[in-house]
């Protein structure tokens, strides 16, 4: 080993050491957080890592930036193989991959060149896109471009220096086994006539520049959003956003735990380590914010900001909590004690994420539609942050929009979010000959399914028509079913989404007790919120039932030919179906409603709005927002109604009573009289009487 190798080895070890120190430091920050068991289902998690991270499934949803980034990432993976060879070779000159079978080595050589060029091209486009095209989602939330430009510049620099090293190397040794590199070879040809001394010198300069740039870049990661190249793979692995298990299941809160003083999160140490890892992993790409219905209608909520604020606060608080006051001292040293920009350690500790970084207003604007999570390419789960902070607001501080108070009180007193008489719950069924579970049990019978009606279907005039339509379909198909009638109470979804876990668990336990008492196995409901709640979240409290949404159930009935239809083909309609968030993004039910509509109306023309399926835009009612005032920006339901009307459809179809209300209101507000129908109403209208 020569001196320069020894020096390089030293540099390499120092760089690696400093990097490890930072990684360890950042990992230690996670220790201030709450636990969260994400160890289950390793194979599913691994599959997610492969599809989301390595195959760039989410990234590729953007038709422009997608391929651009995928190229850079795959290029990075391929080139890293080369980088390792280079770094090892720098310390141990005998080392190279040449021991590999020659065809493999040739392939490897070529790949370095090819990907180097591709990456450089992609980087050039990235610069152009960021600086000239100015995509909207790369702006906002107080972000600056300096970090991104530095990263792009560094990568560009790495590519250029790599080609330079290769070119000068091949100019010196045209017969090197690396001559398989086509581009480097081409670049080296004009250099051959330069003096050997110059070539050697240039080669060394570029080699060292390249190597040092690699090591510098590596150590820049912990201070940059580029940290995502380290943290995104664990973040995607541990993320539950693509499963395992049902999506969108809120973390259970054990309200009976002894000695628990804090429910929900007001600050980073009250969140889980996964929430904090989300903070490390955010690349500030803005895909989440660009699809957020609140953001799109001019509200302050930006999902990206929530995550970035989490990271900023973590960086501020964690060191202090772990006894490291160096940052504060440094800041005071640089800016002077008592300077406006500097804050004492006490002040920092007295601050918190809630209120000082993330405002109440932002938190309440969320409709929990999951569009943000759906788009995020690195497995960030924004809703965990938002709901945890809502939990703190409601459970610890009783802070929530004043109009929500009657909703909570109604749920407590009447078992529904509105001030309606509980004994009116089954009135919609008067005269329809629908038995209750109580009646059937008394007769010693039990139904094939329980039709869970829900509060909208029981009390809202428009939704009652959906209840009737669905009941008629079941009766026409000869399905023995029953309802709970007055024994049904609100499933608790609005309370849970708004953070009132206590009220939610009270209601859920009541329902589980009733359902268990009647030994219910299969439940069908037309409300996606009831569907999600009872099917996916009740198991946390011991309620395990098979829950089917009516779109799926009706589709099954239609497929089995159990629904007698009129023989004529039905009206010629152009119909647009609006995807419900809790049916679609939460539960991946996109086809059943469409299939149901097509089977019911064989000559219907289905048109899709621009934002559809897992890109669909929320109607605005989720996350308890149905019960809150919308005080900022444009009304979400009007925005969505506009999108649906723009399809030119003469009829709109929905599969959720909340969507029904919001879209109908939106359509009316636009002065249009395009009818909005639930899919069961469409099917019922075709029943052979």
């Amino acid at each position: 080993m020569r001196t320069e190798n020894a020096v390089f080895l030293l540099v390499l070890l120092l760089a690696a050491g400093f990097f490890s120190y930072n990684v360890q430091r950042l990992l230690s920050y996670l220790s201030i957080a709450q636990p969260d068991d994400r160890s289950g289902h390793p194979l599913v998690r691994l599959k997610n890592v492969i599809t989301v991270a390595f195959l760039q499934k989410k990234i590729l949803r953007d038709p422009v930036a997608g391929p651009m980034h995928a190229l850079i990432f795959w290029g990075f993976v391929v080139l890293t193989v080369g980088t390792i060879e280079l770094l090892l070779n720098g310390s141990f000159p005998a080392f190279s991959y040449a021991f590999l079978p020659s065809q493999l080595y040739t392939f490897y050589s070529i790949s370095q060149d090819v990907f180097g060029a591709l990456v450089l091209g992609a980087i050039a486009f990235a610069f152009y896109r960021r600086l000239v095209l100015h995509p909207e989602r790369l702006e906002g939330d107080g972000l600056e471009h300096s970090d991104a430009l530095l990263i792009l510049g560094a990568i560009a620099g790495l590519m250029v220096t790599m080609f330079a090293v290769n070119a000068f190397g091949l100019a010196l040794e045209p017969d090197s086994i690396t001559r398989a590199k086509p581009l480097s070879l081409a670049l080296s040809i004009p250099l051959r006539n330069l003096p050997t001394g110059l070539l050697t010198g240039a080669h060394a300069v570029f080699w060292w520049t390249h190597a040092l740039l690699v090591l510098a870049f590596l150590n820049y990661l912990p201070y940059s959003k580029h940290l995502h190249i380290v943290s995104s793979i664990p973040n995607v692995y541990f993320s539950n956003s693509q499963g395992p298990g049902p999506k969108g299941v809120i973390r259970f809160l054990d309200l009976e735990a002894e000695n628990v003083e804090q429910f929900g999160a007001a600050d980073v140490d009250q969140m889980t380590w996964k929430d904090l890892l989300d903070g490390y992993t955010c690349t500030e790409c803005g895909r989440c914010t660009s699809v957020c219905p609140a953001h799109l209608t001019g509200k302050v909520l930006s999902p990206r900001k929530i995550i970035i604020d989490t990271r900023r606060r973590l960086m501020e608080k964690a060191p202090l909590m772990l006894g490291d006051f160096s940052e504060v001292a440094h800041h005071a040293l640089v800016h002077g004690e008592g300077d406006e920009g500097s804050m004492s350690a006490t002040a920092i500790l007295e601050h918190r994420l809630l209120d000082n970084f993330i405002t109440e207003e932002e938190l309440w604007q969320c409709t929990t539609c999951r569009a943000c999570i759906q788009e995020c390419p690195v497995g960030i789960e924004h809703l965990d942050h938002i709901v945890d902070m809502r939990r703190n607001l409601v459970l610890m501080e009783s802070r929530f929009p004043p109009e929500v108070l009657p909703t909570f009180e109604s749920m407590e007193r009447n078992g529904s979010p509105w001030a309606f008489r509980p004994d009116d719950r089954a009135k919609w069924a008067d005269g329809l000959d629908i038995p209750t579970m109580a009646e059937l049990t008394e007769r010693g019978e039990s139904p094939e399914i329980l039709f869970w009606v829900g509060c909208m279907g029981s009390f809202d005039d428009r939704s009652k028509k959906i209840s009737v339509a669905f009941a008629r379909i079941l009766q026409a198909a000869g399905v023995p079913f029953a309802i709970l009638g007055q024994e049904e109470t609100c499933n608790g979804d609005p309370a849970r989404r708004m953070g009132n876990e206590y009220l939610y668990q009270t209601l859920a336990k009541q329902n589980i007790e009733t359902l268990t008492r009647y030994d219910v196995k299969t439940i069908v409901t037309f409300c996606p919120h009831c569907f999600h709640q009872i099917g996916n979240e009740y198991p946390q409290l011991g309620g395990n039932y098979e829950v089917i949404h009516h779109s799926t159930y009706i589709e099954r009935l239609l497929e089995a030919g159990r629904v007698p239809f009129d023989t004529d083909a039905g009206k010629t309609l152009t119909m647009a179906y609006h995807d419900s968030c809790y049916l679609g993004r939460y539960n991946d039910v996109y086809d059943a409603p469409r299939e149901t509509l097509r089977r019911a109306l064989p000559i219907v023309t289905m048109v899709e709005p621009e934002r559809t399926r897992d890109r669909g835009m929320c109607c605005g009612a989720g996350g308890g927002r149905m019960f809150m005032e919308e005080t900022q920006g444009k009304r979400i339901n009007i925005e969505r109604a506009e999108q649906l009307l723009a399809t030119g459809a003469d009829t709109l179809a929905v599969a959720c009573p909340f969507c029904m209300t919001m879209i109908s209101d939106g359509v009316k507000a636009k002065g249009s009289d395009v009818p909005v129908l639930d899919i069961s109403e469409v099917v019922a209208s075709r029943l052979r009487v």
């Binding site: 429910f263 459970l395 501080e397």
Partner: protein, 238 residues
């Protein structure tokens, strides 16, 4: 009060099947007013008292979870119909308490008499401001607004005093989970209520005459005359 009531078989009470008791809105404002006063001008103790069967303990616990310090149940098999009997029992309990302020809701939402508050004040010899919609306490004196029909009075009084609370006062806070858990450990004392003989007794409860089904009176401006006629003769609201 959204419930549709049925009369129990006895004919002297409403059928309580499926009904839940809750703190009345007025009592909620009263508890909230007391809590806010102690928070702003504390330290002080907020004590909540109720008279009735054990079911009132739920409401006492609710007040404790809002932040009250302790609770007292004057136990009685049923809440007396006669307000003076209730007032005497409460006065006996309140006398020794050395309270600066005694708050009542303006009236009970079910019996709707609004008599107990001022009666207690008389029995204790304390000044009393009823149905206040604003209240300021400073330097041992109180100032309050009382809404009359189409007018209002601003009244002043010295502490100790009795105040009954009306709309316009702050709404009851929603108990936090912390509050609910802390309430379980706060003292709730149960004592027998000292009840005298009732001179006002309940003979019967009945539902008011059924509301006739609504109907469309007509179409367009031409139907106005008929509507006004009906409002005058039938509904008697005009």
């Amino acid at each position: 009060m959204e419930t549709r009531f049925k009369i129990a078989a006895s004919g002297t009470a409403v059928d309580e099947a499926g009904l839940k008791y809750d703190m009345s809105d007025f009592d909620g404002y009263a508890v909230e007013t007391a809590l806010q006063l102690n928070e702003k001008q504390g330290p002080g103790e907020t004590v909540v008292i109720s008279l009735g069967p054990d079911v009132v303990q739920e409401q006492l616990r609710k007040a404790l979870s809002m932040g009250a310090d302790r609770a007292v149940q004057l136990k009685a098999e049923r809440v007396p119909t006669d307000g003076l009997v209730i007032a005497r029992a409460l006065a006996a309990e309140l006398k020794g308490g050395a309270y600066d302020l005694i708050f009542f809701g303006r009236q009970a939402v079910d019996s709707a008499n609004a008599t107990v508050g001022p009666m207690v004040a008389e029995l204790l010899g304390l000044p009393c401001a009823t149905a206040v919609s604003t209240l300021d306490i400073a330097n041992g004196r109180g100032t309050a607004r009382r809404d009359l029909e189409g007018a209002a009075e601003i009244v002043e009084f010295a502490l100790p005093a009795v105040v009954t609370i009306d709309e316009g006062m702050p709404r009851a806070r929603y108990p936090s989970l912390k509050g609910i858990m802390a309430a379980k450990k706060k003292p709730l004392e149960v004592k027998p209520a000292q009840l005298g003989e009732e001179r006002l007794t309940l003979e019967k409860m009945e539902l008011p005459p059924e509301r006739a089904a609504g109907r469309i009176v007509g179409e367009g401006p031409g139907a106005v005359a008929e509507l006004v006629r009906l409002l005058h003769t039938e509904a008697k609201v005009l």
